[in-house]
Point group: C2
Chain length 103, copies 2
């Protein structure tokens, strides 16, 4: 499985598109330093930035968003022994909510 972080993936995509941080950060309207840190995991990415980047790079936003969310989840459970059990409970809750969404 891929152990690549979202930041690493975004950097890879940016390099494939041969875009310097400077240009992308201008499009995002954020400082170069922040984007650099985001790609290296030193600063947190926000949903908004992820979506804008998907737009800039013309790539599938869902894939990036899923990675983004999964990293937030991983951050919460860290190295907890009960992490897996908690994930299963959360899954049940999500399914339950989805089933009762229209109610």
């Amino acid at each position: 499985m891929s152990t690549e972080t979202l930041g690493e993936k975004l950097r890879q995509i940016r390099e494939q598109n041969e875009l310097p941080l400077r240009k992308v950060s201008a499009l995002l309207d954020i400082d170069v330093a922040i984007l650099s840190k985001m790609e290296r995991g030193e600063r947190k990415l926000s949903k908004e930035v992820v979506l804008k980047l998907a737009d800039i790079y013309k790539c599938n936003p869902e894939e990036l968003l899923v990675l983004f969310l999964s990293e937030k989840i991983m951050y919460e459970i860290q190295d907890e022994d009960l992490g897996e059990r908690a994930l299963k409970v959360a899954e049940k809750k999500v399914k339950y909510l989805k089933a009762n969404k229209t109610k």
Copy 2:
């Protein structure tokens, strides 16, 4: 399925043990107001408090901890459409980490 929050569950357990907030908060060494708010979901619970409460009420800490973690997870994915997919990715990551823990 149970839609009971951790706070609600803790309140229920406390009432079953017939302990007033005052006594429990003294044991926890936190303000009564905070505990009151924690039980009603107005303040976040911490892992430490959850474990101390399990000890005070002599109940299974794992069950409470799983609920605690699952609520943190749910908070992260909120009402995201991709929440379920993200959970599955997170599960894979946890399994991967567990498999390579000793490495």
